[in-house]
């Protein structure tokens, strides 16, 4: 099959590149290009003025075409197409026949029929030659003007300033700048910005004549207004290059452009058209990304596969250095249902507007002026229909809790999110290349071409590279210790994947050496977090920290404390009496703890099983005061008694404490439930804190007391009990799966890129699509719960371990000594 491509611009080149990459058999490619050099990067044309050479802008050198067997005729436009005989003839007289012909003739600048446009000193802004001529002319010019206040006109105006023509006017026919991309307020703020860099803006201004003899000397507008000008750039729009197609008899749109269908076929089944010359559904796409997509579709059509062009998003970002302007999706909300959130700061020249669906969930489009840093993220959020956070204004205001946006936003995008639209490179593509060794942006550019088009996605690519490296543990490998070359998270995945249930199995399968006091409790905790089996079983007892191994906290002198669970802090008189009796019988010091329960201190190891037997008989369970596990869910008395109480905070606290009891985590977890905003349960200092509202509950997460107190942050408001539990399920499970060892939720959140917004996206908006999995994993843990003290006292093998002397099990440690204190005892001071 022989294919001829007319036009060697950006899209014509991309067609060749993409086709060759597919390694097709028996295909002959012939390219005719009118310009004197092979295709170059027109998008970055303006960089020609900041020092880039024609060579730098080249898409690929001439040798590339040769190396890939492409016959390239440059500086030789096609003059005639014979559709009947399927031949083309060039200006130099070369005639070639084709099986398929592809028009990629692009556009030229549209020059309005103003008298005098032919004068010297009047330019268009499209090719390297245009820019060379401007460069040669500029030193003689003092006063400049640009006709056209659109995207390209403003770029040209900026170029004028860079060329030294600092007194430059932008003449716009419409009442405001960039009317097709931004709204009125946006235009006004942009105008103020441009004026601040020295440009003069004339809107609602119609040019009637360009004056001067051979050379431009001025412009005359309506109302006979005059402006002295010695250099003018016309950038009033584009005009598709359809003249050749027209003379060949192809169907042309009423206002120009070669008509194509969704397969890029023209009215002749052997001729296709792509790029800026193609008219699809009444639209010329004046951007490079849709052109590349058309190239892709055309190739599919030629190779017989099924791919359709279905239109393309016209989101754009202006490349003016120093002034950010971007618009994406639907920048104007036409629908009455659509809600807009606007941030306007005239002082700083910032204007941001986002349009949001009526249900507050989807981003439909928006405008960014003065600060377009969020452009890529918002564009992707919009395109991929990522569910918005509950306070959508955060997406333009940034989170105000001091959390950095970081790159976490990128993480919330799905794998098939298009990061580089120019080159159609998805997030998944980039991440997998990073994993395969492309460890920096340059390497990614090389192997995926992402970031080589308009360049707008480069910051996102960078974020993705860093995040992926991090998640691969490449820069920050938090390896556990000398026995395991993995981070906690990696090891958790391995243990899960291979269904390992004992420390020894894990060490043999994934570690080396004999373990130590760092990896043993860590792995034991992972195993417990994953399976929630009795922690002393399967030989895991000796891998547990001393406290877990003996199901009690070791205290000064070598005695232990006994902390029965008292869910929500609620206890019956009968149970209080049992605690008193047990404490008396075993001579234990009793104290009400800071967690609303009772701690019995000073128990001998040997006595622990008997003490617990009595407590269990009275209905108590382990309080897990010794474990990296749920401690207490503190409650206030709530609506049952308190005159301010909105809901029954005690019942809810009990329900929650019983749900999560026994679950092992990277560190201990505490909760609180308050019955109203007075917050008597201090819920906001807990890992999760619930506060009653008129409509339901507010859920706060990641609070901490301890040496570095930190208030919990609001995760969701006015939710019902069931939703609240679902969110806590997800939150805790996500924490359990991702936190570093011995990291409380507060510290974990502080390290989590994207902070609370990211967490909210994961937990509430299910941005990672993990919610269901997290919930069911939690449910499994909940279902697997048994009181481990009950299991211990009932099993003679476990019970045997609770003795001080292996050869004298009845005897207590004779070195233990107490002192008297206020009618009770206390441990003897350290020596």
């Amino acid at each position: 099959m022989k294919i001829i491509i007319i036009g060697n611009g950006m899209v014509g080149y991309k067609f060749c590149e993409k086709l060759i990459a597919k390694n097709p058999q028996d295909i002959e490619l012939v390219v005719f290009g009118e310009e004197i050099r092979p295709a170059y990067d027109r998008v970055h044309l303006s960089e020609f003025f900041s020092g880039k050479t024609a060579k730098d802008l080249e898409m690929a050198p001439a040798s590339w075409y040769e190396d890939h067997g492409v016959k390239l005729h440059i500086g030789d436009p096609v003059m005639h197409v014979d559709c009947q005989n399927r031949t083309v003839t060039s200006h130099a007289g070369i005639t070639e026949s084709y099986d398929y012909l592809v028009f990629a003739t692009g556009s030229s600048a549209f020059v309005p029929p103003i008298p005098g446009v032919e004068k010297d000193g009047v330019f268009i802004y499209r090719t390297i030659e245009d820019l060379e001529m401007m460069r040669d002319w500029a030193p003689k010019a003092k006063k400049g003007a640009v006709i056209g206040g659109g995207l390209l006109g403003l770029e040209a105006a900026k170029a004028m300033i860079d060329l030294g023509v600092t007194d430059t006017h932008v003449i716009e026919f419409a009442p405001r700048l960039m009317p097709r991309q931004i709204d009125e307020t946006g235009s006004a703020i942009l105008q103020a910005k441009l004026e601040s860099i020295g440009l003069h803006i004339l809107t609602s201004t119609n040019t009637l004549e360009i004056t001067g003899s051979d050379k431009i000397s001025g412009m005359r507008f309506q109302n006979d207004q005059l402006l002295d000008v010695d250099m003018l750039v016309i950038s009033a729009g584009i005009k598709p290059r359809d003249e050749l197609a027209k003379s060949a008899g192809l169907a042309i749109g009423a206002r120009g452009g070669i008509l194509v269908d969704s397969q890029m076929l023209t009215s002749d089944p052997h001729i296709l058209a792509i790029g800026e010359c193609a008219l699809y559904e009444g639209m010329i796409y004046g951007l490079v990304a849709p052109g590349y997509e058309m190239a892709e579709v055309a190739i599919a059509t030629l190779l017989g596969s099924d791919k359709q062009f279905t239109g393309f998003d016209m989101s754009t970002k202006l490349k003016l250095i120093g002034i950010d302007v971007a618009s994406f999706g639907d920048p104007f909300s036409s629908d009455a249902e659509v809600r807009s959130i606007v941030l306007e700061d005239r002082n700083k020249g910032i204007y941001k507007r986002v349009n949001i669906s009526a249900d507050g969930k989807m981003l439909l489009g928006g405008i960014l002026i003065g600060d377009a840093e969020q452009y890529n993220m918002l564009l992707q959020t919009c395109k991929n229909q990522v569910v918005l956070p509950p306070n959508p204004e955060d997406i333009i205001l940034g989170s105000r809790g001091g959390e950095s946006e970081g790159g976490a936003g990128v993480l919330s995008l799905p794998d098939d999110a298009m990061i580089c639209s120019c080159e159609a490179v998805s997030k998944g593509d980039i991440c997998s290349h990073v994993i395969n060794g492309a460890e920096n942006v340059e390497a990614i550019k090389k192997c995926t071409k992402a970031g080589t088009g308009c360049g707008g996605c480069v910051p996102m690519v960078k974020d993705l590279v860093n995040h992926t490296l991090k998640s691969q543990g490449i820069y920050v490998r938090n390896v556990i210790c000398e026995h395991f070359d993995y981070s906690r998270q990696e090891l958790l995945d391995l243990v899960h994947l291979h269904n390992l249930r004992s420390y020894d199995e894990v060490l043999s399968a994934h570690g080396h050496g004999d373990g130590c006091e760092v990896c043993k409790p860590l792995v034991a905790s992972l195993i417990a977090s994953l399976w929630n089996e009795m922690i002393l079983d399967k030989g895991n007892d000796t891998a547990q920290d001393s406290n877990d191994r003996f199901l009690a906290n070791i205290q000064k002198g070598g005695t232990y404390s006994v902390v029965p669970r008292i869910p929500g802090g609620e206890i019956t008189p009968d149970k209080l009496i049992v605690i008193g009796e047990v404490a008396k019988e075993y001579n234990l010091y009793t104290k009400i703890t800071g967690g609303q329960r009772i701690d019995l201190f000073g128990a001998h190891l040997t006595d622990l099983p008997a003490i617990w037997e009595k407590l269990i008989e009275a209905g108590f369970e382990s309080g897990h005061a010794y474990g990296k596990a749920l401690r207490t869910v503190k409650s206030c008395v709530g609506s049952t008694w308190c005159r301010f109480g909105l809901h029954d905070s005690v019942s809810f606290a009990i329900q929650i404490e019983e749900r999560y009891r026994g679950i092992r985590a990277p560190h201990k977890i505490k909760g609180g439930v308050s019955g109203c905003i007075r917050e008597c349960a201090e819920a906001q200092s807990k890992d999760f804190g619930i506060i009653a509202t008129e409509k339901g509950w507010n859920l706060h997460v990641c609070g901490n007391g301890g040496s570095k107190p930190q208030h919990a942050l609001l995760l969701a408001s006015d939710i019902d009990s069931e939703t609240c539990i679902r969110y806590i399920d997800r939150f805790l499970m996500f924490y359990i799966k991702t936190a570093d060892p011995l990291t409380r939720t507060a510290t974990w959140l502080n390290k989590l890129e994207g902070g609370i917004d990211y967490l909210r996206n994961v937990v509430v908006n299910d941005s990672l699509g993990l919610a269901e999995e997290l919930e069911s994993e939690m449910q499994k843990l909940v279902d697997n719960y048994v009181c481990e003290w009950k299991a211990a006292v009932e099993n003679p093998e476990f019970r045997k371990r609770f003795s001080h002397f292996v050869n004298a099990p009845e005897e207590k440690d004779p070195t233990i000594d107490f002192e008297v204190l206020r009618d009770q005892k206390k441990a003897k001071a350290w020596n």
Partner: protein, 118 residues
């Protein structure tokens, strides 16, 4: 020498009395000796039970493991670690602990005591 006559292999317990890869405390008159079954290596070790850091009778409840090739035990109180072979403190400034030889015969575990230790 006469004294050697009094050196003894003290019968501590049975193999099954000691948790694999863990320790127990053995009472020898009014002394306490920590006995460890390092099952991963098929080795047995014994040391004093008292941790020299805060004089806590706790080493038998400590966690064993290795640092490089060196077998070690970590005190449950403040995680000071000691070599099970030499008794040297591997994690800092605390003095060394005493170590004992262990022998296993017919499922019985013996600790070697010099005469002055009985």
């Amino acid at each position: 020498m006469v004294e050697t006559m009094n050196n003894t292999w003290f019968l501590a317990c049975q193999v099954q009395d000691v948790p694999e890869n863990g320790g127990v405390c053995v009472k020898v008159k009014d002394q306490q000796i920590a006995l460890f079954h390092f099952a991963r290596r098929g080795e047995w070790y014994a040391t004093q039970n008292e941790c020299p850091h805060r004089q806590q009778m706790a080493l038998s409840r400590g966690m064993i493991g290795s640092q490089g090739e060196e077998p070690k035990v970590a005190c449950p109180f403040h995680k000071k670690t000691f070599s099970l072979k030499t008794g040297a403190c591997l994690s800092g400034d605390v003095e060394a602990i005493k170590t004992y030889s262990v022998m296993v015969k017919d499922e019985s575990v013996y600790i070697f005591l010099e005469s002055d230790e009985i």
